[in-house]
Subunit: 297 residues, 4 copies
Amino acid sequence: AASTPPVSKGEGTDGDRELAKALAAFSVDEPLAPAIASRAYGSGHYPYVDRPKRKTYKSHLRDLQIELLKVQDWARRSGERIVIVFEGRDAAGKGGTIHRFVQHLNPRFVRVVALDKPTDVETAQWYFQRYVAHLPYRGEIVIFDRSWYNRAVVEPVMGFCTPQQTTQFLDQVPVFEKMLVEDGIRLFKVWLDIGREMQLKRLHARHQDPLKRWKLSPVDLSAPARWEAISTARNVMIEASHTTSAPWTVVLANDKMRARLGAIRQVLAHLPYERRDDKIIGVPDPAIILDGHTFLD
Amino acid sequence: AASTPPVSKGEGTDGDRELAKALAAFSVDEPLAPAIASRAYGSGHYPYVDRPKRKTYKSHLRDLQIELLKVQDWARRSGERIVIVFEGRDAAGKGGTIHRFVQHLNPRFVRVVALDKPTDVETAQWYFQRYVAHLPYRGEIVIFDRSWYNRAVVEPVMGFCTPQQTTQFLDQVPVFEKMLVEDGIRLFKVWLDIGREMQLKRLHARHQDPLKRWKLSPVDLSAPARWEAISTARNVMIEASHTTSAPWTVVLANDKMRARLGAIRQVLAHLPYERRDDKIIGVPDPAIILDGHTFLD
Amino acid sequence: AASTPPVSKGEGTDGDRELAKALAAFSVDEPLAPAIASRAYGSGHYPYVDRPKRKTYKSHLRDLQIELLKVQDWARRSGERIVIVFEGRDAAGKGGTIHRFVQHLNPRFVRVVALDKPTDVETAQWYFQRYVAHLPYRGEIVIFDRSWYNRAVVEPVMGFCTPQQTTQFLDQVPVFEKMLVEDGIRLFKVWLDIGREMQLKRLHARHQDPLKRWKLSPVDLSAPARWEAISTARNVMIEASHTTSAPWTVVLANDKMRARLGAIRQVLAHLPYERRDDKIIGVPDPAIILDGHTFLD
Amino acid sequence: AASTPPVSKGEGTDGDRELAKALAAFSVDEPLAPAIASRAYGSGHYPYVDRPKRKTYKSHLRDLQIELLKVQDWARRSGERIVIVFEGRDAAGKGGTIHRFVQHLNPRFVRVVALDKPTDVETAQWYFQRYVAHLPYRGEIVIFDRSWYNRAVVEPVMGFCTPQQTTQFLDQVPVFEKMLVEDGIRLFKVWLDIGREMQLKRLHARHQDPLKRWKLSPVDLSAPARWEAISTARNVMIEASHTTSAPWTVVLANDKMRARLGAIRQVLAHLPYERRDDKIIGVPDPAIILDGHTFLD
Ligand SMILES: Nc1ncnc2c1ncn2[C@@H]1O[C@H](COP(=O)(O)OP(=O)(O)O)[C@@H](O)[C@H]1O
Ligand SMILES: Nc1ncnc2c1ncn2[C@@H]1O[C@H](COP(=O)(O)OP(=O)(O)O)[C@@H](O)[C@H]1O
Ligand SMILES: Nc1ncnc2c1ncn2[C@@H]1O[C@H](COP(=O)(O)OP(=O)(O)O)[C@@H](O)[C@H]1O
Ligand SMILES: Nc1ncnc2c1ncn2[C@@H]1O[C@H](COP(=O)(O)O)[C@@H](O)[C@H]1O
């Protein structure tokens, strides 16, 4: 599967051994091992080797953001409600992608919901309740930076919930989302997927940058050690919740620029808004934009 | 069925004709026709003729309210969440019954939720959203004075929603409630049922009382004319939403005192709280406390 | 002053000594001493000896409640905003009085605000902030069951705030209230005053009643021991905050029926609502309805 | 005063006449007149002619943002509450400046409050109420993108409130702010000031940019025509509300880079946070950072 970390493959070239050592020795406080840095971009079987030009990216992004403004306009006129859920490992690029979605939208009709860990009162309520409170009203776009899917990945992996709670969640979530979709909400679910070395490189870079260091939470710092557990939880989650009414899209995201454009394209391509410019949207790149089931295969 | 109004039965005794005329001529502004007043208590096949003694009622009520305090105490200690939904026609006695439930409870841990008609923002959201916002947290009891079931009865009968919306609601509500119950919420659903003449008598009395007249909303005033439509909607609703996880209890409520005691008993009888006094609870009276399916038969 | 407890007066009749002993020995777990019970009604220099007839009370109350409905109607039409603050010692009868105010009003346009002790978030905010959140909007009546004045009496006496905080509060409160009044809010501030023996009698009765025992908080139970401290704090508070824009009304409240009628009358007498029936309002009884300054003298 | 638009000065050089014509003919739909474009940077007596280097700006900004992180850290540890109010004409650069303040802060402890025009419910409340709801709790920084000062400038100029309401506001606002400051809130009030031609140039540019056009509200579009009215209202506002407890800072803001650095410096310079690096803060530039009174002179 696309997600198997390279370290577990191969039968022991020198490079592999060097990498294995580098991974084992990884610490945000040490300099980043060249074995990690050099493989970050291609890690997790990322299909591209070259990086896109910044200028081309900027110009594409701008065009797509103009399309997003049309979506917003259409939603407001027609009363459409749109929900976009972003999930992914720490440092997968959720925040940056979301930022590009909303950057030029009218903030009165788009909301980014990044819930803190549940308060006591929230823990004491129906699990979905605090998320339901943020569902969009007519004409609104709501983007979840992490979502109810915490119960499928972060919480079980970190031990914040019981296995029973995760099982019950995976049981209920298709029903829950079906209700929303039947109610007319357009629901997108995006998993941003990065390779192991890329995650390490980014966590390391964050730690080096005084402006970003505070972003490294204990959850983040334990992410590398839980790499496999998260992979498994992700797969179980996609398997259980990739439904016809609410399918998953997996975006291979080692390259931030491609990932951002890809995620926006994917959403645009599935919304029947007015004055849509299909030439600008193009076709979501099948090398990095995968349907949940395809990804699992 | 228990709900067929007497006027539609019989083959035309004098009394029937007199009543039919009185019903047709009913107006809150005119004196109440004796034909209505005299039949109110027995209307809708109410099984009792005699009224209980006020003093006995008060003493029973007091004992049951002490049990309710134990329930509250138990809920707070164990973290149980309890939801009681009250539905019924206008003047069925929802408010009075609810008042007796909460009268002596600690208001910090019990809430009565009587939502106003939806605002524009609320109409523009997922239908269940505004109700979900009021679900209890750990240790809390929440009583809904009318509920999401508006979409099954009041709204279609008054033309506030489309038939499709009601159909979709009836489709989704068992799934929705099952999620809550699986999440551990103890859910009670009570329909207070009164006879046609009793409703008229009470609406009339309200109109005569300067302290209560304002309570008569346009919805209330149109209730008598919609008697049959509401009966049908109620039956469809119970049929669709009387489930194993969330059954309906119908309380024949022409007699307010019996109805209040009966509703409290029914709830107490189904909660495994500490220091429960089963002698005080007794057995819910099968003549007026009916299971949803039994009622429909 | 009206509030000096009788026990501190006189130079030692037998009755005085007996009472002093009873007061010292008071405990909610013991039977109530006859010396307390017999003096409760007259305690704190209550000017009346006889009790009003229940039936007369009920009929007056009903008439005044009809007037309150007119007030509500007037407020809704004209957009008036009304705030009524109730303060007083534990067991002074705040809850019961408030209940009679709102009993027959349309609950959609009257709110009773009884805030719990501040949460961590609230403690961390501007002191007035959580109260400001509950101020009325156009057409609404808001009744505070305890209020921002906690910082003048309960909090300093119980040690929940620093003396500096109380001083600053007493400094700011006239300015704060003046802003509200200038903004058009009609503000009433009522202190319900009871005598020492009456408080003991009521606390004792509460403790005996299984339906009411839970109402006795630790704050309540320590109230008797803090009798003098509360008297002093009350006087300082009235002195500092009895202003032209927002005067205090003190209601001598050993007799609940008289107190309730008196408080309602006082409010009605100061509102220029339509169809006001001055014969029903009458003149607030000067023996038990006192202006803040008069009370202090 | 610094704010007199150049067009009203001088006795008619050719350049003046050309500019006057250009101003009169201004429309966002026409190409921008060179007479406006060329004078934008220096308009409103802006003291600088040269633009700073982008690279120097970025490096200074980065350093100052690291200081802001220290402020946030300090606030969280010590419980300090900080409020920064940004006011200024349309296109003065409030949004961009605020963005640089919060860009790298932990979003959980800083909030930007940009209130929409008041809803019906809000209009029906105490004017300050909806702002009070957003005041910070312990450890939090709250930035207002426009604020209660709407009632001093936007509302009277656009006719959204009565002159009496503005007068009352100007009367109350020093008292209101004093209460906050006495309560321990650290309050900064910043007016970003731009010249007339600069405003036109920016409004024009916004209109040309498809990503920004939607930002032009009717209020914005009427801004140029109300230039003088806004100048007057601004001066009256500063005069009335520049107090010792809550002084105004005016930032001459034709140059966005200088304005952003200047505003951040001004705030940093007045906060006694730990590990403050005074060399990085430097001294707020007196040519563009003015105290309210100095500005008026
Ligand atoms: N004790 C906890 N219980 C439940 N969820 C938690 C807990 N601690 C953290 N989380 C959740 O785990 C997710 C990841 O946490 P973190 O890495 O700190 O945040 P982020 O990656 O969003 O910056 C967040 O959604 C957070 O709410
Ligand atoms: N326009 C409407 N759209 C949807 N629901 C409405 C509308 N008008 C009234 N309702 C709902 O119908 C129910 C009955 O209304 P009413 O008889 O006025 O209230 P009640 O019987 O609770 O005093 C209420 O739950 C109310 O919210
Ligand atoms: N720790 C505390 N800090 C501040 N206020 C408190 C605290 N504990 C209780 N109070 C306040 O003291 C008041 C009196 O408390 P209590 O006697 O328990 O309630 P009540 O008399 O309203 O039933 C209440 O307004 C409560 O919010
Ligand atoms: N009708 C209105 N009443 C009061 N304030 C308004 C109104 N319309 C706009 N505003 C305020 O004017 C300011 C500028 O508006 P805008 O340029 O549209 O963002 C904002 O703070 C708005 O909230």
